[in-house]
């Protein structure tokens, strides 16, 4: 399934960092998320300086690195993943830049295409620096998702909406990733700001409950991205053998995907489909 198809209905987009606590466990977790209703998977490739992440995801990244997770393991993992939802790779630019023998992101994108990755979210790559990666993605038919922040406005917003493909990642509030009890009022304003652009809008940063997911979809989002609330489950449950993390992830995913679906139903549907 392509990213475009995945957003035909409002989509639930969970995030996990691959390798926390091990690649094999991540496989179980991802399957659980898909069982729970994931429409798109954002899978983190751990980088040593995750400057856009809050403490929760940062912790996950650190654990994944401590477990020795490398880009190559990540690719093999995605390659072997037997799920029917598109995978978006979330990582930082230096890992793309270093991959392979030549400078620049080309080899990384090529390998990503090989293993069936659909697109990228690179939080430390603003539009201004994205030229080379955008080109490489185009060359290999991958999407490059940009994050629109509450502070993004005017010309820059225009440019980014233009540059983004797959979906627009609408950052619900200022700051870094992390689950919050309230999703800010900012969400509606942010969605309004991008409503004119003809690209799916997925809202992330701070979503943690089915209720919030529903509200966000009601506010006009095409997707809801949830990371920290899931990583919290991964982090809380330590025993690598007999724990119930997959069950808990699945049920949290279900709550969230049902929230998305409920929101979709409740919405006025001005454009028939």
């Amino acid at each position: 399934m392509s990213l475009a198809e995945a957003f035909d209905e409002p989509a639930f987009v969970p995030y996990l960092c691959v390798g926390d606590p091990s690649v094999e466990r991540t496989r179980e977790y991802v399957q659980a998320l898909v069982r729970g209703g994931a429409d798109v998977l954002e899978l983190g490739l751990p980088f040593s300086e995750p400057i856009a992440e809050g403490p929760t995801i940062q912790g996950s990244v650190v654990r994944a690195l401590e477990a020795g997770t490398t880009p190559e393991q990540y690719f093999e993992f995605v390659d072997s993943l037997d799920v029917d939802v598109p995978v978006v790779c979330m990582t930082y630019y230096n890992l793309l830049y270093q991959y392979g023998d030549s400078d620049g992101p080309g080899s990384f994108v090529e390998r990503a295409a090989e293993v069936g990755i659909s697109g990228f979210v690179i939080p430390d790559l603003p539009a201004e620096e994205a030229g080379p990666l955008r080109t490489a993605c185009d060359d290999h038919g991958l999407d490059l998702v940009f994050i629109v922040a509450p502070t993004t406005e005017g010309e820059r917003l225009e440019r980014m909406a233009g540059l983004s493909s797959g979906y627009l990642y609408v950052q619900a509030r200022l700051g870094v990733t992390g689950a919050k009890a309230d999703v800010s009022d900012q969400t509606e304003a942010s969605l309004a700001k991008v409503s004119q652009y003809d690209i799916p809008k997925a809202v992330g940063f701070g979503v943690s409950s089915g209720d919030q997911a529903r509200h966000i979809v009601e506010a006009g989002a095409d997707g809801v991205i949830v990371g920290s609330a899931l990583v919290d489950i991964v982090a809380d449950h330590g025993d690598p053998e007999g724990d119930d993390v997959p069950e808990r992830l699945e049920s949290k995913a279900r709550e969230l995907s049902e929230g998305v679906a409920a929101g979709a139903e409740n919405m006025a549907k001005p454009e028939g489909q």
Binding site: S2, A4, F7, D8, F47, S48, E49, P50, I51, A52, E53, P55, Q58, G59, V62, L65, P71, Y93, N94, L95, Y97, Q98, Y99, P123, D124, L125, P126, A127, E128, E129, A130, G131, R134, T135, D138, D143, F146, I147, V148, A149, T151, T152, E153, R156, E158, R159, A161, G162, L163, S164, S165, G166, Q171, L174, G175, V176, D198, I199, P200, Q273
Partner: protein
Amino acid sequence: MSHETRRDGETGTTDEDRPGTFGRYGGQYVPEALMPAVQELEDAYERYVLEKEDGFVDEFRRRLRDFGGRPTPLQRADRLSDRLDREVYLKREDLLHGGAHKLNNALGQVLLAKYMGKERIVAETGAGQHGTATAMAAAHLDMPCEVYMGTRDIQRQRPNVFRMRLNGSEVNPVSAGRGTLKEAINETMRDWATNVQDTHYVIGSVVGPHPFPEMVRTFQSVISEEARGQIREQAGRLPDSVVACAGGGSNTMGTFHEFVGDEAVDLFAVEAGGSSLAVDEETGVAPNSASLSTGTEGVLHGARTKLLQDSDGNVVESHSVSSGLDYAGVGPELAHLVDTERVTPVNVDDDEALEAFHLLSQEEGIIPALESAHAIAFARANPEQLGELTVINVSGRGDKDLESVIEETEQRELENAPSMDIFERAAGDTEGGI
């Protein structure tokens, strides 16, 4: 709703043409949320600093003089000159308020933040030198300030933590990772990303996204501006060489900048060779901080530059006896000057730096920062590379390093270390006669 996967509009510029780049290096690799702030800063930098609007530059200079103690002297080092058999001059940034060149930058940025109408300052600090400089500048200019510092660094650098707290700054412990500088930078970026509207991030060296590398270098260039004039006045000519230590590279660029156009002046950037130049891929540790000499191109903390990384691109832990040099990256402009062979990157190891620390303390009556001791150590070991007349930047004083120098000295056999048994002798003596 149906969407087609599409993209239109510009492709984005390629890095190397953009302002804010130095050859292959530089740029603005930051989260989107920060881009407006970075651009706002770029504008403010151009208006107030480059175009001198609203008297910013005059006020900055005045405060550097009255509050900071500029100009700092350029001093002929009599005994070092004898020893190396050439004329050695020391630029005395150790005499700047706070005890290091760091204030030049901190004062500039806090003042700029004020001109920009920001209401809050955040900064990262490792050894605490940049944090204390920022805390002083913020107190001086009546700006609330929060400094992020690794929990491990907090325990190791008590006096600097005291100083920041005394100056009224909050110090926020960062416990992630090893609890050191790298983590503190990440955390400060996060604070900035959260509070970007009213907050300015005072970065501590010529690193980070544009305009930081250029702006910090501009604030620090007062060092070479003065030194170039002073050496011409005192020695009657330009020096054959200029030497500065390089961590992030702010004292380095500050000391070099005005000499870059003087092609006959050799510029030496002295990095921390630590205990070895090799990287241990297994543990992800480089027992050095020699990113110019041994690093490779990559993206770190907002800029493309040379850095210490493993083959995947994860940043490795750097190491140096001098905590101010203990950083895996380096300023992009300095990386470019090295690539173009205008600056020669060199390095000295921990032992050499400690010996140079003792040398300058004993023979010149100047206790240098361990960072600055690296510059002295290079000169000491390679006098023939200096020419007849050299200027070495003493970027800071060593008061902050006393305890760690004593400790490190005890663990080694150094040529010239004084014994510190005085404390036992004094303790033993408390009862007896003299």
